[in-house]
């Protein structure tokens, strides 16, 4: 049996199949905690988790906060737009100050790819990546995979399609790493301008034909179109996107019966998918939110435990 030994969670690229499965299995046990009348266990009592978010986020930050609180950790939220970050403090300096406050875990979101990795190298305390640039968003992918496994009983052999702005999506990248490591085959679907040429190196199929991408798929993960970030106006017409790539009832009718529809939220109704699909029987979007708590509890617990063991000299 393997033990978790990493003080940080930076991305699914760096994990083995066994480590990913360990997180998923641990999360399964943590899911029960949220169904209790007293939704709290003392596992991280006396530990402090800091949410350090350099990009706006509501759901991920709250999900981490709920997860940490259900483990009895204390949670501090740092809004970087009102902190000394505005006075020019560097990420590493901010991190070292958080460490000097004797916090135990930093949950970081940053617009630069590699920010979490850099912070993890500089600090002895645990770092959890809550999204860094276009790089990774490991807990989102873990909760997507957890939800898929719960619905379909397995990951190996599944056909999963990811639709949306593949080029700029850390959610897509983390999902691709995780799903392929667990033996699923992944198809990515996006307008040509948002489909990077090197994506096929990640062992995925790429297409710009949504109907082809949905045919035979067991699940489709629909990414949010981040028009607010689309500086090059690669896709100027939102309605045009819906016509060509939007997930609608008609498109689902042509896909496999029972195809699972996921979305990391927040949904742009009428752009990425129709309201009927978002609220329909194929959608597991709100279950993803519930599962996100269990997955993040598992991650916080495992990294905190590994750090404790490293501190005690039990592991390097």
């Amino acid at each position: 049996m393997m033990f978790w030994s990493k003080k940080d969670l930076l991305g699914l690229e760096y994990l083995t199949q066994e480590e990913i499965l360990l997180i998923l299995d641990t999360a399964e046990s943590f899911k029960e905690v949220s169904s209790r009348e007293i939704k709290k266990v003392p596992a991280l009592r006396g530990k402090t988790a800091v949410n350090l978010f350099y990009e706006p986020s509501t759901r991920t930050r709250i999900s981490f906060e709920v997860a940490a609180k259900r483990l009895s950790a204390d949670v501090i939220n740092i809004a970087t737009d009102t902190s000394s970050v505005r006075k020019g403090e560097t990420l590493i300096d901010t991190g070292k100050n958080i460490q000097a406050l004797k916090a135990d875990i930093v949950i970081v979101r940053h617009s630069c790819s590699g920010a979490a990795n850099m912070l993890a190298r500089a600090l002895d305390i645990s770092v959890v990546n809550a999204g860094d640039g276009w790089h990774e968003h490991p807990t989102q992918a873990l909760l997507d995979i957890f939800t898929l496994r719960e619905k379909l009983g397995k990951i190996a052999g599944l056909k999963v399609t990811i639709v949306g702005d593949i080029a700029h999506s850390r959610v897509a990248r983390s999902n691709i790493w995780g799903l392929t490591k667990l033996g699923a085959s992944v198809t990515v679907c996006a307008p040509e301008l948002l489909l990077p040429a090197e994506i096929e190196k990640m062992k995925v199929k790429a297409t710009s034909d949504i109907d082809k991408a949905l045919k035979d798929a067991d699940a489709v993960n629909v990414l949010r179109m981040q028009f607010e970030r689309d500086e090059n106006a690669a896709f100027p017409e939102q309605l045009d996107y819906y016509k060509k790539f939007g997930i609608t009832e008609e498109r689902l009718d042509r896909a496999q019966k029972g195809i699972i529809v996921m979305h990391p939220g927040p949904i742009n109704r009428g752009i990425e998918m129709s309201s009927g699909v978002a609220d329909g029987e194929n959608s597991v979007i709100l279950e993803q939110v519930t599962n996100g708590i269990a997955v993040r509890m598992a991650v916080l617990f495992l990294v905190a435990q590994a750090r404790e063991k490293i501190k005690n000299g039990d592991i390097d």
């Binding site: 049996m1 393997m2 943590f30 029960e32 905690v33 617990f301 435990q305 404790e308 501190k311 039990d314």
Partner: protein
């Protein structure tokens, strides 16, 4: 490492049957009674106890499963078991007479954690403790109500309970340090 067998299959079965009788006797029947086994081997023992109680009283009693990893007093110690497993108590604990079941009673810290965990699930009328082996060396003021066998040990020794459901055979071994 030399291992000595101190209980075999028959001895284990007799102990469990005796404890089943004692539980019924002490509680004057099985009304309001429930069993909760502590992972991992306590779960199998609780199941066997409930089977035996059914043989005697001809009635099922509720049986639950408790994982205490999240209630350990030392986070790093919680790694004795690589995986946090599920707690499954699908009945109401309130106003029940609860018998907590584990394989070995040693320092008492596992039981302390189990009591904390149960507290989060409800308020039983009473909690009793049944163990297959009591090996001494308590670090907390905790004692068992039902004991299969008392085995005086040194803290250098290890007690291994093997059960068919988990290990393929029924036996209790004591492994001494040479």
């Amino acid at each position: 490492m030399k291992k000595v067998k101190i209980l075999d299959k028959e001895a284990i079965n007799r102990s469990i049957m005796r404890i089943a009788h004692e539980i019924i006797e002490k509680n004057k029947g099985i009304a309001e009674l429930c069993l909760v086994g502590i992972r991992n081997r306590g779960v199998h023992l609780a199941k066997r106890l409930s089977d035996n109680i059914k043989k005697i009283e001809n009635k099922d009693i509720p049986c639950g499963t408790l994982d205490i990893t999240l209630y350990r007093d030392d986070l790093a110690m919680a790694s004795g078991q690589p995986l946090v497993r599920k707690t499954e108590i699908d009945f109401d604990l309130n106003d029940r007479k609860l018998v907590l079941v584990d394989d070995v009673l040693y320092t008492g810290r596992t039981i302390r954690a189990a009591l904390d965990a149960l507290n989060d699930f409800g308020r039983p009328k009473s909690i009793q403790l049944a163990v297959l082996i009591d090996r001494g060396h308590r670090e907390l003021p905790i004692r068992a109500d039902f004991v299969g066998k008392n085995i005086p040990t040194s803290s250098q020794e290890a007690v291994e309970v093997h059960l068919e459901e988990a290990d393929g055979s029924d036996e209790v071994l004591i492994a001494g340090k040479e």
